[in-house]
């Protein structure tokens, strides 16, 4: 029996279980990042009195190393806010808020790049500011930001390998556990790296395909 069979194939269920946890964390963190990023961006642009707070949060989320963020959300937030209650939730939140800081800036750039005339055209046919935002500004912003949004998802996937430090049992956690059981890192870690590379590659490919298709549809030049 080769090492590959013993250490990888026979452990496939453990690795798969870990991978599914990784996927789950990444999807939840991504949802938090997109929604949170849009909220931070909107507050920063349109809610004057809260703008300094939004800027502070964006800069704080972006400037904190993800390792510190994970520790801080997992061990400090429950003491101060009584939340999150599980390490899994803490992992999702920490990954999500960090990316929300980056996406907030991506969205802001997208919104500011829309010509003023597009909004004026909306106002001139009697649309209200919320209608103009929802129907004209938001779709164009998401379209323009699509590549960055996908890219941010891949960042989340890569950062998610650190959630094992707060004992979340993701793919990296399971891989490290197998290594410590068998003392055979070569095959296990190589396959683990391969899974991450494949995952990130597939996500990037899907994102690029989607972005190209949208650009083609709207007659914009391919990136």
């Amino acid at each position: 029996m080769s090492n590959w069979e013993r250490l990888v194939w026979n452990q496939r269920e453990v690795l798969l279980k870990g991978f599914l946890v990784t996927v789950e964390i990444c999807l939840i963190a991504f949802a938090i990042a997109v929604v949170g990023g849009m909220l931070l961006c909107l507050v920063r642009l349109y809610v004057k009195p809260l703008k300094p707070l939004a800027v502070l949060l964006i800069e704080f989320f972006r400037a904190t190393p993800i390792f510190v963020q994970l520790m801080w959300v997992a061990y400090v937030w429950p003491e101060i806010f009584g939340w999150p209650g599980t390490f899994f939730a803490a992992g999702c939140v920490a990954l999500g808020v960090q990316s929300s800081g980056y996406l907030a800036e991506t969205f802001r750039a997208g919104i500011e790049a829309i010509p003023r005339g597009h909004r004026e055209a909306g106002y001139s046919v009697g649309m209200s500011p919320p209608q103009v935002f929802r129907r004209i500004v938001l779709p164009q912003t998401l379209l323009a930001s699509a590549p960055s949004i996908v890219n941010q998802f891949t960042v989340i996937v890569k950062s998610s390998t650190l959630v094992s430090v707060i004992t979340v049992q993701d793919l990296m956690f399971q891989a490290l556990k197998l290594v410590t059981v068998w003392y055979e890192p070569i095959e296990i870690l190589t396959v683990t790296a391969g899974i991450y590379i494949g995952f990130v590659f597939l996500v990037s490919l899907a994102g690029k395909t989607l972005a190209d298709r949208l650009r083609l549809r709207y007659g914009l030049a391919a990136a």
Binding site: P115, H118, A121, Y123, V125, M127
Partner: protein, 261 residues
């Protein structure tokens, strides 16, 4: 040409002593004029004379510093009938739908099809059903001779076609008047004609229009009245035959000698 009785005595658009300051710069310094229903008024003048600002003040994309604009006798800036309270943004939005605006840069929404651009406001603002709005949209696109392009996206159209879609989009709100802000200035010369043809047809149909333009041919042939603006004031005004044929103002004469071949 016009019967000055009853309802028709109220001008479609009345501008009274309009001033607009940007910081220390006086762009409009007291402009007053009336546009009767069905009239086409062309505004000419050098760059920086205040033409575009005047047009943008009429539908309140710019807020005038003072003065008032009346649409069918209704003041834009405050509630009428002795109520001097300023109108809310929502009320101004309501009134804006009566003024169709066509921009120099077309400003079509690139993520919507041609038809989508045209029916957006009828659906969202007028509350029409999609079916109703589509029928209306196709009718408006036919008026600008683009019915076959309804499913295209704006980026696939020429500048002239885009501007005609923008005209159809404004028409779809069935406005009381159309405002054109240099509609052909960003078009290649060979594309301006198709836009001017549509504008002449609208004028012939009795559409009330204010047109800021550098197209002296259009101003001369298609308008009922021409205003020449200089330094934020109306320097010369009258029927095209008079403004182009025998201008009283020296500045107007100089301007025309430079711009009319």
């Amino acid at each position: 040409m016009h019967v000055e009785s009853g309802v028709d005595a109220v001008p479609a658009i009345r501008v009274v002593d309009l001033h607009k300051r940007f910081g220390t710069l006086d762009v409009l310094r007291g402009v007053s004029f009336d546009v009767r229903r069905g009239d086409v008024v062309s505004m000419i003048g050098a760059s920086g004379s205040g033409k575009s600002t005047l047009l943008r003040c009429i539908n309140r994309l710019e807020t005038p510093s003072s003065g008032e604009v009346y649409i069918d006798g209704e003041p834009m800036g405050h509630r009428g009938q002795g109520d001097a309270k300023a109108r809310s943004l929502a009320e101004i939005n309501m009134m804006r739908r009566d003024l169709g605006m066509v921009f120099q840069q077309f400003n079509l929404w690139p993520h919507m099809t041609v038809l989508g651009n045209v029916i957006e406001a009828p659906i969202r603002v007028r509350g029409m059903s999609r079916r109703e709005a589509t029928a209306l949209g196709e009718e408006c696109l036919a008026r600008v001779h683009l019915e076959e392009k309804s499913k295209e996206y704006p980026a696939r159209l020429s500048g002239g076609q885009q501007q005609r879609v923008a005209i159809a989009r404004a028409l779809a709100m069935r406005p009381k008047a159309m405002l054109f802000d240099e509609p052909t200035s960003s078009l290649d010369p060979e594309l301006t004609d198709e836009v001017l043809v549509v504008m002449r047809e609208l004028a012939a149909d009795g559409t009330t229009m204010i047109v800021v333009t550098h197209e002296m041919g259009f101003a001369r042939e298609a308008s009922d009245r021409v205003l020449f603006l200089h330094n934020g004031l109306i320097e010369e005004e009258g029927p095209p035959s008079q403004v182009f044929g025998a201008p009283k103002s020296e500045r107007c004469r100089q301007f025309l000698s430079k711009h009319v071949q």
